[in-house]
Symmetry: C2
Subunit: 193 residues, 2 copies
């Protein structure tokens, strides 16, 4: 009978994700993806299908391993307002550490919202909803404990926090300095004060 697959599909997907992440869907060519993954052209098509299918798999992987994992870690914290504070500390730290200026794969893809298929839009919708939900739940729990003022609207505050998170990562790709990003993060944290 045949042999087992000789290259690690998940490792290849990880590398493909990095290519899409740093270049975006359109600018990433199959040649880039072949070079980035290190596997053969035919093998890549055989294992993942075409460019679009590979992009979906890469975005799903990012959503699962970065977005979802990060939120799960933060939501496990006892203190809701600290979870929110950590979120913004993390996002600024990630942006500063991101010397390649790739930004956030999910947020980058929001900008391409119109140019993708329904499946990609669904991943984006779900990801944004989850981030917003994290903020909203954190605020609600904080309010229930009396740590956060009752007169703030969890829904709109959560949307505003998501908006600021998005901008931090977008502006952090070159337009804004570290100090400016930190100023925005500080303002974001003060939204629940």
């Amino acid at each position: 009978m045949p042999w087992e697959k000789s290259f690690d599909v998940d490792v290849a997907l990880e590398k493909a994700m990095q290519v899409f992440w740093s270049k975006g869907f359109d600018s990433a060519s199959m040649a880039n993806l072949i070079e980035g993954t290190g596997i053969n052209r035919g093998s890549l098509y055989n294992a993942f299908g075409g460019k679009q299918a590979l992009f979906v798999k890469a975005l799903l992987k990012y959503d699962r391993e970065n977005r979802a994992a990060t939120l799960a870690g933060l939501e496990a914290l006892d203190e809701p307002s600290q979870a929110i504070g950590n979120f913004f500390d993390n996002i600024v730290a990630s942006t500063i550490a991101d010397t390649e200026r790739k930004g956030c794969f999910l947020f980058n893809t929001v900008l391409e919202y119109g140019s993708h298929n329904a499946e990609v839009n669904g991943i984006i919708d779900n990801g944004l909803r989850e981030i917003e939900g994290f903020f909203r739940r954190s605020i609600e729990v904080g309010q229930a404990r009396g740590d956060i003022r009752q007169d703030i609207n969890p829904e709109s505050k959560a949307k505003t926090m998501l908006a600021l998170a998005l901008s931090i990562r977008v502006l952090g790709r070159g337009a804004y300095t570290r100090a400016a990003l930190e100023a925005i993060a500080t303002e974001a944290k003060q939204l629940i004060q």
Copy 2:
């Protein structure tokens, strides 16, 4: 002697701007630009140079006629806090009215910050600085008049407002509903309360 130019260069540039605006630099092909402007291939190269040069001229035109003109109108208002309020009312209204979901040409280009030349980056830097300056000056004037609280930091508040404006236009390209955008705009206005 020869004749005068038979097509209006500025009209053609306006149309080219629309193409770049709705598709972005990479996705806009020369074929799109030729079709969009309605002028001949050779004439386009003769009048504007290559694709990159045309993009710079289009972005400059947008920055002058949209970004700068809008800010000048708002800054002429007597009431600073109303100017800020109008800014966010306008940006939400523009986003809702934008059925093609083109977003803001300037903000869209921020996302491509790394992939352009220094001239484009300069236009972006200047545009963002001007928007931020509008917010900062409005806050400072309001504070001088006693209409806005003294304990808020004009610098960081202005950066936060720019961040929210950017997100409204980005999320307005499909990911967020009108109600969500209005919620963010409301929160933005409340930053100076």
